[in-house]
Symmetry: C2
Subunit: 238 residues, 2 copies
DNA sequence: AAGCATTTGTGCCTTCGTGCACAAAGTTGA
DNA sequence: TCAACTTTGTGCACGAAGGCACAAATGCTT
């Protein structure tokens, strides 16, 4: 029996959820812009206009949205609230997600105070840190306050809060151990801010955000730009 | 004469210039792992082993490195220091880059205290904020202390420090104005943490890091996983 | 010196992502 | 009602990216 195909991320029916990864990565942008438009009392918007606000090409936007279904009206455009609802539904924002943050340094504090979580269905249900000075600190997270728990409580916090997403904001040398404990506790989705490569078993998804990597990519293009200013060297060598 | 191709000459710039974006995005990872290996006194490493540490496939690693030139030895592997040097050179890490950070909230503080900048040639040369309580604050950045400047000093700070990269860590509603002023002051590379789409003229590169977007992508896959647990319902309804 | 073991570098093929262009579908106005 | 206009949804073609497999090149051993 070909069971292996079930594990593949590719779906056969386009009617279902065969949404390309590149599209999924852009849906949150579309959703955010649509919410902003709704706040400005905009009812309908064309793909050209919406695409410009999202920083993508109109054709790409239309193809992305076509993967969700035909939610536009030809000759008119898309109804903002209607499209926003369907995107949020597809992204799973209609149900709440519990998030545990491990590591409450400057970055952890920034994450807790970030306003964009609660409005998109994410609720911070646990804060963990190993440093004695931080443990016990009361942190204002949205409407409710949270107390930073010691690292020993990790398994208990994850299981009791039924958190499904974890954020690692620890130093690099602690990240892998934290990751292993999170996975053992049942977490299958991890957002990693520590500058290290995490190894996880299959079935666990890790996304990484690396500040230094982003800067180095910028530096590469910046240097290439500088090199292009000296085309004489190339002519001389030829 | 067939000038189009010259083999075995890694110094030909035409070959080194066309590095795919996907490769450039992985080079910082390779570099970081190589530096770590060097600290552990590892002299040579094979592509299989290095690939495993970097979380990529060996074939991909070799193809990535082949874009830089032939820096490996068949039958042996890659010399750690040698390869590390060539990657850092290609990324432009051999020369220092001045970085200005706009917005010194929790996230800004986290960026300033991040250790990975100085070791990769990035030096924070300016801190800017609009809030009176933050302006004037002395922040410890690596070896030297920096004082947060008021936003009015933006143009002066950028031009006097000759910064080429800027980081926007402000709230979303201030980001576009800050971006415009940075571009007008001569900045051509911007790392944007604000959850908004920035519009810039051609020739300016913007990379964005959006925390909520990353969480929403995780939530999408998490939801898909939950939906896959109930395939019977779909079959029954069909 | 010669053969064996090991590892790199790369050609080929498949898959994924993007842009173009246009038919289909809906609205507006007379 | 019908024609002109607007906008969506999509087929197609092209380029980028990834994986496989193997020839070329190097070290080691006899």
């Amino acid at each position: 029996m070909p069971l292996s195909r079930q594990l593949s991320s590719s779906r056969i029916r386009d009617d279902g959820r065969g949404i390309p990864d590149a599209t999924v990565a852009r849906l949150p942008i579309y959703h955010r812009v649509l919410r902003s438009l709704a706040d400005d009392a905009v009812h309908t918007i064309s793909s050209d206009h919406l695409a410009q606000r999202c920083g993508v090409s109109p054709a790409k936007l239309r193809k992305d949205l076509s993967h969700l279904g035909s939610y536009g009206t030809r000759g008119v455009g898309y109804e903002v609230d209607f499209l926003s609802y369907h995107i949020s539904r597809e992204l799973g924002l209609s149900q709440p997600w519990g998030v545990v943050i491990v590591g409450v340094g400057n970055l952890g504090h920034a994450l807790v105070s970030y306003k964009g979580f609660a409005s998109r269905g994410f609720e911070i249900v646990g804060l963990l840190d190993s440093h004695p000075d931080v443990v016990g600190e009361k942190v204002c997270a949205g409407e409710t306050d949270l107390v930073v728990q010691p690292m020993a409580e990790l398994e208990k916090v994850v299981s009791s809060s039924n958190a499904s997403i974890a954020v690692i904001a620890t130093p690099a040398d602690a990240a892998q151990k934290v990751c292993d404990r999170l996975v053992a506790a049942g977490v299958r989705s991890i957002l990693n801010f520590a500058p290290t490569v995490l190894s996880v078993p299959v079935g666990v998804e890790v996304r990484k955000v690396d500040l230094a990597v982003e800067l180095q990519i910028l530096a590469f293009h910046e240097q290439r730009r500088v090199d292009d200013l000296t085309p004489l060297a190339q002519v001389m060598q030829a």
